[in-house]
């Protein structure tokens, strides 16, 4: 997926409504461990996994799971903040 320009991002945010594709949630959940692991180690996951990043903006259930896993993993390893 190409990187969106700033105004395209806003327009996409307004335009992307409707059902996620069938199986999108299952696919997202299978990818979540990789997504949260890489994100916690500072990788730019929005560019590595743009479809999942986009899905998380749109799907409350997957977003909740993402939030739980991210919080849990960060707590477990208490990763230092970069200044």
């Amino acid at each position: 997926m190409m990187m969106l320009l700033p105004r395209q991002r806003l327009i996409a945010a307004l335009a992307e409504v409707g059902l996620p594709p069938a199986g999108a949630c299952r696919h997202s959940q299978a990818m979540l461990p990789l997504f949260v692991t890489d994100e916690l180690s500072g990788r730019i996951v929005d560019r590595l996994y743009p479809d999942l990043a986009n899905h998380l903006d749109r799907c409350p259930a997957c977003r909740q799971e993402y939030a739980d896993l991210s919080w849990w993993l960060a707590e477990a390893f208490k990763v230092a903040h970069e200044p």
Partner: protein, 263 residues
Amino acid sequence: MSSPLLNHPQCLAIVAQWLLAHDWQLANPEQLTNHFWQTPMPLKAIQDGIWQGYGVILHNYCCDPAGANYQRAWHELSQWLQKQLYKLPGTPKDHEEIAQESLINLQTRLTKEPLTHPRTLWAFAFQTARNQAIDLNRRRTTAKRGSEEEMPADEPDAEESWLEQKTLDNSPHQIEQAAGEAISRQQLLTFFERLLPTRLQYQVAVMHFLDNLEPAEIAPLLGKKAHEIRLVKARIVETLRNLPPESKRDLLAILGNDDDVAS
């Protein structure tokens, strides 16, 4: 200001401390450091290297029932998972039950098929435990209702909430037209200021939508974690999608700098 870079002996000392603190015995500091060391690196990169590197080692032993370290590997994973579960609400009995069922599921899964990305072992274990906690809660709810009837399976798809979402009033053609026009940053700043209820949301909106930064890039600038920024961003997107038609027209007009867009 960037973090100081630590050299190899400093890295070894940190790794040794970490292994001791977690009672991780399946690698010595040199072995584990070899998994990620390349050049002098900041503390955070070393910490990430440790837990991900050890995750790989643990994963590989857990997938090898014939190996000498198999039992020890599962013991370490079990100890670690139980320790983490106690951070969650619930009784010790609940935690024990979730831990046991999670470990059985993990063992079944890893024996059948190793993870594609072994460094994700910890997150995968959390996900399994989370699913077990949801299952346990569902079973209890069912029992409380005194019904033998199975509750619906936990379908993660949030179609209901999607169905409730309003569709955009403007046609794709109009959106494209809006995209083709020049953007007015000042107008958008004013719009965000009016629309978004907190300073943090405003800052994230500006950095993400106008400055083209991703959550992982915004987080250090605001002293937050990347996942916290992502959740703020999701709230902003939700706010944008649920704008009243009038505000949505205003925003599209700003984006297109074209009054016709709103018509």
